[in-house]
Symmetry: C2
Subunit: 331 residues, 2 copies
Amino acid sequence: MDIDSRVSREEDIIQIYLRPLAARWPGALELRDDCAVITPAPGQDIIVKTDPIRAGIHFFTNDNPDDIAWKALATNVSDLAAKAARPFAYTLALSFPRIPKHDWLSVFAKGLEKAQSAFGCILVGGDTDIECGPLNISVTMFGEIAKGQMLKRGRAKPGDSVFVSGTLGDSSLGLHLRKSNNFRNMFSNYADAALERYLRPVPRLGLRSALRGYARASMDISDGLLKDLQRMCSVSGVGASINARELPLSTAMQHVAKLDFRQAISFIAGSDDYEILCAVPPEDDKNFIAAAHAGCVAVTKIGEFSSDPVVRLLDDSGAHMNWGMDNLYFL
Amino acid sequence: MDIDSRVSREEDIIQIYLRPLAARWPGALELRDDCAVITPAPGQDIIVKTDPIRAGIHFFTNDNPDDIAWKALATNVSDLAAKAARPFAYTLALSFPRIPKHDWLSVFAKGLEKAQSAFGCILVGGDTDIECGPLNISVTMFGEIAKGQMLKRGRAKPGDSVFVSGTLGDSSLGLHLRKSNNFRNMFSNYADAALERYLRPVPRLGLRSALRGYARASMDISDGLLKDLQRMCSVSGVGASINARELPLSTAMQHVAKLDFRQAISFIAGSDDYEILCAVPPEDDKNFIAAAHAGCVAVTKIGEFSSDPVVRLLDDSGAHMNWGMDNLYFL
């Protein structure tokens, strides 16, 4: 087999590259049947998330297929982590713009294998086709959680603390570094870490136990803190006040913030962070932080939910700032 | 709201058109959360099928959105029917080439509602986006069946009867009538029925009980009898001999067969029939036919599985015919 050659039949994509990924799941039927079988554990709900990623939107065509595979699973696992569910299986529908090469598929499949292993899930169903349009990777991810225990986004109450995991804005910064070489030179010391955040987000599975124990509402931040916080507030029927100086920033984002704080806020309002946003009753703040640290995830209280249904960003003096969406690029 | 206008926000597609379809499923959380919750019934396996349909491949851009909605669900329900599973829920990811109009969405949503009602399933998760490329509708369908009872495609044995449901080739005929007006004039009396088969396939849910009772292996015919029978034989490690004159034909296809029998065979080898192909131990032939009729589905024995791993098409004298794949259009 010439590694640089194109696959001769669509079915080879499944047979050579995807079947080994499904080997440990009897219900995958070696990807030889039309359907997959999931036998639920007694007393568990099954949590389902489906989110496609596409070349030109969520990744670049020339990205390393290992990174693309990681991102396809990570973005869906992130949703399950925010719901405090344990991912265990996924289906994969690949739509290629042309017949792919063996070397691309080989690296992609190894990337899936690494991501499966990191997230504890396994391929149970696969489908491929060739069509015009960008490379499209549709993952449906299955998780489980004790019956009735899934965390929802719509239960935040006025007075609850607004917590986020990790640091914010890195993925947007990474994307902009990717697009601009000038920009990249300014950030030579930090560029790799920010790029990594765009390409290989880390779902916060370590936060599940803390969320189950103390959070009232939870969701992942995939479309930017502003938009996702507005969604959580809207469904919960509350508002929130966020303290700009409390927003957790990486070293690279601290550098941006020193140069232009409003630019930093714009990146924070940008997408693809895959951190977790949650509402914690204030009396549980300390317990939540301790439980999160026990799961090796840093969390930061960035503000409070309020009864007034508006999302506000406040500076040190308590004055309103805007989210700077009109000021997205400073180069 | 101007019905001929385009939707102003992507979220309106979910709020106005998809949310009502999810109203009866508490675990859909009104499509306001990131994930859907499925609470499995005790003792049931969950059967999963995901198969996207795309403009230009499975339907035409100017097809009635009511028909497109039907086909998106029917093609996935057909797989579950062949596995003897009961469909109960589905997720839907819609990818539009541009922001759709209210009138299109309104008819599409009513089509989904009719299909839901016909198949007994309900929307539990939805996602939409706008991207370049053809309209893409990705359905993940969930069914249930008693634990361990899912019918597989790989269990056919030499000597088993080869059965198919309904009639074959109509969908290919419908597609060709659609593409050729001349051709259509020749079939004026039958055109509508064949077109209907292409646009609105009917999953054979009525066959589930007969399949559970008597079939050893089963799958739906989505890529044509030849290709799908070859797949069943390959996974089962058997072959099959099919008697050409036993192939069940509609009135329209009988007309084709009279004009050019090889052309009829080409249509039968074409895709999108969504009938069921199954293996039945010969001593159960009569019981299977009776149980199928009790479910209001006609079934026909078209041949036998054999130990010789080849799929043969035989004429009245027992001589081998070819499947006529080199002779796909006779106009």
